[in-house]
């Protein structure tokens, strides 16, 4: 969820239901046998019926997200424990964010020597701008397509690597490789390979009779950044799905096999539905990735062109802020994006707190 850096590649370890729950369950089972904690209850792929009968929420004395067994009302120690994080957040997050908020209602020169308060002019100008509307449409198309491709390929790869025995770790390592590559570098590689003049892969496309030219065809350009962004992100979805598949109870699959369901049927009828929460989570993460973290790829592959065809919102924030030096407009766009991100955060919380509470 490395929302804190669209540039840097790495999606941070997210709050995947798969990992957070599956992992401890293994440990719990092996080291700290605890009454009542069955593997199934702690599994990421807890079948829905189990979730449905979890009446623990809403106990009168419970605050959300607090352990039932806690250390009570002490205030000194938790304050000390929280202090480093809060200090860092205040200095490097809240103060800067507030300033961005202030900047969004100002018209100012980049050096800050000339500042005028303009109310909501920056926002009004944005909504009146055809360019901004085009950017919204492009962003939606880009993130949705990237999301679908990434998930679909990752599901197929996860299924395949779950099937095979020989060479599995080699495959897995190779598929994970793009994770190690900075988006900026990934973007440069893709730009180079699909360059219509010199790119070896572009030459292959030409040889196949496909008229490939991302410099002159907006669709080609959009597909190119979608492919590059997906390429960089498939490994992320893949690893969660692969891990999730490992956690599908073998007994269920065996039962289905006894009933005569083939591997593919089993996958779609049992494994995939059980991975539902993981898939939902990955979809959210893919949106976040597409919205915020693809900046470096766009920058390296197309510069948002041609004619704005790949100018997604976060890239526009960057261009307006850092190249056009239109700080007010850039800040206004940031504020809109921040609002969107906050909504995503809230949605995530609603979903996962709902999900997690039952098992606690």
């Amino acid at each position: 969820m490395n929302a804190s850096s669209p540039i840097a590649s790495s999606p941070i370890w997210p709050e995947s239901p798969a990992v957070q729950v599956a992992q401890p369950s293994g440990l719990v089972r092996s080291q700290h046998p605890s009454p009542g904690a069955t593997v199934a209850e702690h599994s990421p792929v807890t079948p829905r019926p189990i979730r449905a009968r979890t009446p623990k929420r809403g106990q009168p004395d419970r605050e959300p997200g607090l352990k039932r067994a806690n250390f009570g009302r002490e205030a000194g120690l938790p304050t000390l424990l929280l202090l480093p994080q809060l200090l860092i957040l205040v200095c490097f997050f809240f103060i800067p964010s507030l300033r961005a908020l202030m900047q969004s209602v100002l018209l100012s020169d980049p050096f800050g020597s000339n500042v005028q308060f303009v109310w909501f002019d920056n926002f009004k100008a944005l909504f009146a701008s055809g360019e901004y509307r085009q950017s919204i449409v492009t962003t939606i198309w880009f993130t949705v397509t990237q999301n679908v491709i990434t998930l679909a390929v990752a599901v197929v790869l996860a299924f395949a690597s779950d099937r095979v025995v020989r060479g599995r770790s080699v495959y897995r390592t190779l598929i994970l490789l793009p994770y190690a590559i900075a988006p900026a570098i990934a973007g440069i590689l893709w730009a180079f390979l699909f360059n219509p003049v010199v790119g070896p892969l572009a030459h292959m496309l030409h040889a196949l009779g496909i008229s490939w030219d991302p410099n002159r065809n907006p669709n080609d350009a959009l597909w190119l950044v979608i492919m590059a962004a997906s390429w960089k992100h498939i490994c992320y979805d893949y690893i969660f799905l692969a891990v999730g598949l490992l956690a599908v109870p073998a007994s269920l699959m065996e039962a289905a096999a006894v009933d005569g369901a083939g591997p593919i049927r089993r996958f779609f009828l049992i494994a995939l539905p059980m991975l539902g929460p993981t898939v939902f989570f990955l979809a959210v993460m893919n949106f976040i990735y597409g919205f915020f973290e693809t900046f470096a790829i766009i920058d390296a592959v197309t510069h948002g062109g041609p004619a704005g065809a790949t100018n997604i919102l976060v890239y526009k924030v960057y261009v307006d802020g850092f190249i056009n030096l239109d700080l007010g407009s850039s800040a206004a766009q940031s504020v809109l994006l921040m609002t969107f991100a906050l909504i995503c955060t809230l949605l995530q919380f609603r979903y996962f707190d709902h999900k997690v509470n039952y098992g606690v």
Partner: protein
């Protein structure tokens, strides 16, 4: 964690309290030169540092021009600007009206350096000066020239590229038709500079009102009513016919020329360093073409960058800055820089010195830029371009031109839209800087 942070604060304060005991005053210079040019710039700085023992200039490559600009803005707002920064020509008005700079002529006067300001060649001096005084030290001034592959032209039966766009078009189509090369020419990355702005200057077309902005911030773009429209249409036609190629990301346009794939290339004279070093082809260069109904063509205009001095430093540091800028302005330095990079010599003395030494006999193409810049009598259409938010208006324009290339818009429609978007941006700049009208800019000391 908290403790460490606190200690760090203390250390920071202590470090600040201890006076720097370094014998030499150190100043920073952020720049945007990379590759061969970056190497040369470092050599220049080393020369200066070795030439005296009081000052050290530290050259810091901060990426491309945009990144340097961003870096200096962020640093200035955080009250940590470098002493000197190299900014591209497009940022002139932004820097001038920023209130963040010290005009170089004021600084050098104040520090008692006698620079022969009138000696700077006209197109350079008029671009970088304001009310007759230099605001920034001209450093890397260039202008686009026309590079070509001699062998390709010979094979196609031509001596050299024609002077006019019309004849040139015939030549390029012939080269393509005869199969001499795959493409006649390649679209430069900064085509808006060479093929639209300089094109307007050379062909005596107005780009904006009020003498292209030299007359005040109220200027408006007018290039949708000039030959620029047909120029865009020409480029589109060449693209469709495969005579013009776009290099695209992952490939520098120059590569298509130096590898012998494309026969010609419009690019800055500053490519000399690279082309001499890398091109394995038989190349030469000449003047940019002009329209056949425009004769004589006017001068082209400069691009490149200048060194700005930032506000907010101690007098000792400004001593160092002044010494360095004086060094940069010396004819010897100018001639050397001109020779190793291909940028134009900024002063007449340097130009004369280079001539005197027979430099242009050995390197005839190095003189083209100077001659092209100083050709004819500059008028309002050819003196240069002084628009606020010029990067932003340029990007809007580029995007509209791309819409022509992709076939989404007709040239006239695209240029109308570009002018409309550009003028909105200009009005924003005017609104912001109201009262700092371009003719009254610098506040009295």
């Amino acid at each position: 964690m908290k403790k460490t942070a606190f200690m760090a604060v203390l250390l920071g304060v202590l470090a600040l309290a201890a006076p720097a005991q370094a014998a030499r005053v150190e100043v920073q210079w952020w720049h945007a030169m990379s590759g061969v040019l970056g190497d040369r710039l470092n050599e220049l700085v080393e020369k200066f540092n070795a030439s005296q023992d009081k000052y050290t200039v530290v050259a810091v490559a901060k990426g491309n021009y945009d990144e340097v600009t961003n870096g200096v803005i962020a640093a200035y707002r955080a009250k940590r600007p470098p002493e000197m920064v190299q900014i591209a020509e497009r940022g002139y008005l932004t820097m001038l009206l920023s209130g963040a700079i010290v005009p170089v002529q004021d600084l050098l006067d104040q520090k008692g350096y006698k620079i022969d300001w009138p000696d700077f060649i006209k197109p350079v001096a008029s671009f970088w000066s304001y009310k007759g005084r230099m605001s920034a030290m001209p450093f890397n001034s260039s202008t686009p020239i026309f590079w070509y592959n001699k062998e390709h032209f010979r094979k196609a039966g031509f001596d050299k590229p024609a002077d006019t766009w019309q004849e040139l078009e015939a030549q390029l189509y012939a080269i393509k038709a005869k199969g001499v090369s795959e493409c006649g020419t390649v679209l430069p990355g900064d085509f808006y500079w060479s093929l639209l702005e300089n094109y307007s200057a050379i062909n005596n077309q107005p780009y904006g009102t009020l003498a292209n902005g030299f007359g005040g911030l109220g200027t408006e773009f007018v290039y949708n009513k000039t030959k620029v429209v047909s120029q865009v249409a020409r480029l589109k036609k060449w693209l469709d016919d495969g005579v013009l190629q776009i290099a695209g990301q992952g490939l520098s346009p120059e590569q298509l020329f130096t590898s012998g794939r494309c026969s010609t290339f419009v690019n800055s004279t500053a490519s000399h360093g690279n082309i001499e070093r890398n091109a394995k082809i038989e190349w030469s260069a000449t003047f940019l073409p002009h329209e056949n109904d425009i004769n004589p063509p006017l001068n082209s205009t400069i691009g490149g960058g200048a060194i700005w001095v930032m506000k907010g430093h101690t007098p000792e540091r400004y001593d160092a800055v002044a010494a360095f800028l004086d060094f940069v302005a010396q004819p010897e330095t100018q001639v050397w820089w001109h020779g190793v990079t291909g940028y134009v010599p900024a002063t007449s003395k340097a130009y004369a010195l280079a001539r005197e030494r027979g430099y242009y006999k050995e390197h005839p193409t190095r003189e083209i830029a100077v001659l092209q810049l100083s050709r004819g009598t500059p008028n309002d259409n050819s003196r240069g371009f002084r628009f606020g938010n010029f990067v932003q208006t340029m990007l809007a324009q580029r995007s509209e031109v791309e819409a022509v290339f992709t076939g989404q818009k007709q040239p006239q429609q695209a240029m109308d839209d570009a002018v409309k978007r550009g003028n909105e941006i200009l009005r924003q700049f005017e609104k912001l800087n109201a009262g700092k009208d371009a003719e009254a800019g610098r506040e009295p000391k």
